[in-house]
Symmetry: C3
Subunit: 224 residues, 3 copies
């Protein structure tokens, strides 16, 4: 594939691993903060933090049938999640608004996890459509699992919220960058930047796409 040939040189294993560790650490912070809102104990913090931290990347690795799930191959990655959970357990009360902290940390985590998903798919020479899906899945599913398990409204499905859209645009930017001849590292940088800017804009300025609104089906028919 041209896409992969163009991008592969800059996709060192160290870069991908670094993105994975960073996204694990930041997603774990958001997981632990959600756990604090649910008033769990320390093991509950660890549980939710780990689920959030490795959820997206694990799904990616299962879907792509990689030889080993990334944290099984390198268990030290879990340490990042554990440290984050313990840190939050003892410091969350210092935050003025845990909800805002969750929003912003989640935005950072998304902007790191999407390139991590894109990078792995590119490195395996996958079709560009699969690269897109892996970027979105790796970015969105950790947070989705966190919110479903803790019974919060999933950020990814909040009305008029740019979330999956940011992941989608970021992954798309990486694909375009690759086709335009940039090398892998640059493409992932652009991917993360696009994802973060869109998501940050949504949080800070309320950016959103038009949502679907029901219009009455026909003038004369009664509304259901």
């Amino acid at each position: 594939m041209d896409l992969t040939q163009a991008l592969t040189p800059g996709l060192t294993q160290g870069l991908i691993q670094g993105l994975d560790i960073l996204s694990v650490a930041i997603f774990a912070l958001t997981g632990a903060l959600v756990a604090s809102r649910s008033q769990l104990d320390i093991v509950g913090f660890l549980f939710v933090a780990c689920l959030t931290a490795v959820g997206g990347g694990t799904l990616r690795d299962l879907l792509l049938n990689r030889d080993q799930v990334f944290w099984v191959a390198d268990p030290a990655i879990l340490l990042a999640a554990v440290v984050a959970a313990v840190l939050v357990f003892f410091t969350a009360h210092l935050l003025e608004s845990r909800y805002r902290a969750i929003l912003w940390l989640d935005a950072f985590a998304l902007a790191v996890a999407v390139p991590a998903g894109v990078g792995v798919a590119l490195g395996m020479g996958q079709h560009w459509a699969i690269v897109l899906v892996m970027g979105v899945s790796t970015g969105c599913f950790g947070g989705l699992m966190r919110d479903v398990v803790c019974n919060e409204v999933p950020l990814v499905l909040k009305q008029g919220e740019i979330y999956a859209t940011a992941a989608f645009a970021g992954a798309g930017a990486a694909v375009v960058a690759g086709l335009a001849g940039l090398e892998g590292g640059q493409a992932l940088l652009i991917c993360g930047a696009v994802t973060f800017l869109l998501r940050a804009g949504a949080i800070a300025f309320g950016w959103g796409l038009p949502i679907y609104r029901n219009r009455p089906p026909r003038p004369e028919s009664p509304k259901r």
Copy 2:
């Protein structure tokens, strides 16, 4: 296994692939309709449509440890889900009752996805019990994920609703047909027909199995 030897000849890869694509397209329509009830934006439509469309088949492929998940092997399949989501985004307001449309489309999708699950398991020479489980899982899990993520009551678990039962009966019919000497294509046709008829009867005429009802444990004890 006799079962597989009898059924394999009619199980061409084209047949299985066709069933997969068709179930992806129809399930995607139901996912997008549920997204319209939740008033999501276009990317939200794509997200829920894809999750619903490929959820069941993806689970099947992971559980059976196939070399590749079906849509990773053939990304063009995702196009069907994308087209369906876009179509619904611009036309859902024309429907008089989106809920009825979801119910009926979901019934069609179920009647295609169950044979798709059964066919793959048979093609791999799995035990008949695994064939049953794969039929039910492939049929039910896409819709289940859709409903859990969008916070609707899962159709599969609605009280007195024939849903998993229809999938179960359809998969069972395929196994019986195989043991009776029919070839693969015919068995899958019977499988789809049985699934659809039972599910359609449940929607149209309110068919149902007796549900579990609590009886007071002992006359003298107070109710919990």
Copy 3:
């Protein structure tokens, strides 16, 4: 790894398989009891019972990329879940408190499933951190799926409830036992005992870890 070398001799395949079957049967009972609280029909009982019964072990096998998921390799295991579901369908009304029955059966299932997860990971020579995670996942995810799907508050995330903690402590005890030179069978026995005692203490005596409680961020700032 020293840990595995020490533990492997006692980890016969029969022992692991026995633990898997036993945990499937007991978890299926809890799943069917939850189904009875949701007043499902018999196929709904089977569905929830099977999901609960094999959920944790299936996740373990996918994460560890085993050649085959345990119940696909040995479909007879599913029979245990089916029998349990049917049994509960016809006898649940005899119970005075189904909720207490669920709690206690779930505790037994946990105390069998955690060693099953630990045993498989040890048998594959995994890192001790992975052994811990597999113990906790195998123990907790079947019940978690049951509760998410049936819309109950997940036991694993109930406030101040020792649940994941018991699984974690049990898996940790197995690791320590291995490092202390015990052989595999003994380590798994200790693992199950620690898990059960902690969980039973939580149910019977209300044991719990201190939960996270929000303290006002700063004296002068208004509460969010």
